[in-house]
Subunit: 394 residues, 2 copies
Amino acid sequence: MKPFEKLKILDLTRVLAGPYASMMLADFGADVIKIETPDVGDDSRGFGPFVGKESAYFMSLNRGKRSMTLNLKLPAAQELFRDLVKKSDVVLENYRPGTMEKFGLGYEELCKINPRLIYAACSGFGHSGPYMEKAAYDVIVQGMGGIMSITGQEGSEPTRVGASVGDITAGLFTVIGLVTALYTRTISGRGQKVDVAMLDCQVAILENAISRYLVTGNVPGPIGNRHSSITPFEAFQAKDGYIIIAVGNDRLWAKFCNLVKREDLIGDERFVNNAQRTKNQKQLKAVLDGIFPGKTVDGWIEALEAEGIPCGPINTVDRIMEDPQIKARDMILEIEHPVAGKLKMPGLPIKLSETPGAVLHPAPLLGQHTDEILKEMLGLSPEQIAEMRTKKVL
Amino acid sequence: MKPFEKLKILDLTRVLAGPYASMMLADFGADVIKIETPDVGDDSRGFGPFVGKESAYFMSLNRGKRSMTLNLKLPAAQELFRDLVKKSDVVLENYRPGTMEKFGLGYEELCKINPRLIYAACSGFGHSGPYMEKAAYDVIVQGMGGIMSITGQEGSEPTRVGASVGDITAGLFTVIGLVTALYTRTISGRGQKVDVAMLDCQVAILENAISRYLVTGNVPGPIGNRHSSITPFEAFQAKDGYIIIAVGNDRLWAKFCNLVKREDLIGDERFVNNAQRTKNQKQLKAVLDGIFPGKTVDGWIEALEAEGIPCGPINTVDRIMEDPQIKARDMILEIEHPVAGKLKMPGLPIKLSETPGAVLHPAPLLGQHTDEILKEMLGLSPEQIAEMRTKKVL
């Protein structure tokens, strides 16, 4: 049994935030029907890098889904969509607010024809407020939402997070809202609308930056790799790369000083407790910068772990692929794609003991399942489907 | 009605990842019973900044929960916990793997006394694999999971994301797993174990970095604020701060050139299409760096938006608090705390139309609800509770 195996999801999302959300639903067994514009499809089918003509970007985000084409600008396609909605559990979309209403397919319309429908919308700024209709991209919400203002080396310019956390966290919050609405439906019998904005999600993950500002009045800026209140708790340059250490208390600090044969530092007034070490972080870093180049990253990890001092390397992507823990947790999967061949991608980070998820199919080709879906869900004949295709509905 | 209003969650989590997860459950109406060690409680009660003696950090993550104390090292407390488990839906914990087993409270034990129990564990490296028993902190999994290796200015050292995305994304994936298990229970009638590792979650959010590496063989590094394949799509220094622009296609590029009265750039061979602009990004940046200081951030936003060019400021935390969209979406809440007074914190980024979440109570004082919970759930008398307190069980 898969958690969502009887659920039908009509997935109108494109590019990243929405497809990331529907990927998680597909991984847990939902029948995700990706509805794409004829001829072109999801924009991300055109994003490199490519394997042959297939986008690796698209394939890694759309595994396990089926694809059908539908030109929602045409009334006949809108009618077909409404027929599909009657037999589905979820509509998921990441259009700019107002677009679905223009098609006559807004939540208010759709919930009338299927009161059990869950309608999840993931947009840049949400379905209310003065910025509602503005376009958003990951880098824009990372900027507006504050995370860039606290990321970067000390004194440097604000820095974008290298992964698209503007999109991905919005995808995660959307899944939480959607599954919460599914759970609620088992009690109430009714669906509802889930409205998630990328900008809101950025504010929600700012963590203690907001309370630090409100309590102290100081506007937080980038502080590099260190911790705002624990020291040493940052990255250092070892002989062949970076090593991160997390010395959370005075006991670990003493162990560290003994390990590196600098017992003199334990009694050093500047570093005698965490408050002093944090106050004199720059001086301490200068001392430690002289110590860490003495061993390789692996050498440090072995030595530090023997003393129970939390530490780790800064892995680049090539090292991640070979990491024994990441392998043991099945966090890199290999999927066979009918056109692109074998393809590696990230695995499922949620491990369920009784109803585990899995990737059952590779990403679909554009419109690969149009005919089978229309036959299976709406009982259309090959002739009816052919006629629609002629009329550019599909 | 609230989505989770009849659910009882026994919440053993501390600090960030776990409390962030249980906060979301409390926001949607679950009865989250935070079980803390007597006298000390959640370590984060000691994290600054403070309002009076109360930690703003703790208060912003533990709103809407109840607190009871329990010294799980004592057999009498373990027995009490098992009695609570019989009457609960969820146990949520973020101990190092093996700790709950040492208390005799591992999943294998607990599911015997309550087969409907959902047991969600959020740990650094997960409940399997060679690193299972290692300690993890946010900065360590950010380093090991690769996000630091792709964050930072071009050519600079790897950079930690300024918000604790190692913890927070693990909290989000844990909620998804937990609510998925709750939904599954409505069909199967049985609970299960949810195992989420912070490191796995970092791999899961690396997005296209993995496919870029696998297809091209190039190890991705930090590229600052720009986009790897769209240009110009980055931050520039305006007169009074940074402005981000996202010029996604040639049509927008022409509009931009007209706006800044540099029609000559449209036909410039180096910048004639997106591929050329991306190839010559450094040269283009040098040109644009000469243009953006000419207006203020607000001036640019007005001018760019009039042309339909996606853009936005880089907001610092103080500006976020005043942003009209963030206000309109209720993304900054004010909560009244009995000791600390009025306190602002981030709101709920998931807007449900029929069963919206809300913050109903401020964060609890340590052990504030011990007596009421023991009376209400287990029917203990004041005398029995007093005796347990004398024996240091509570």
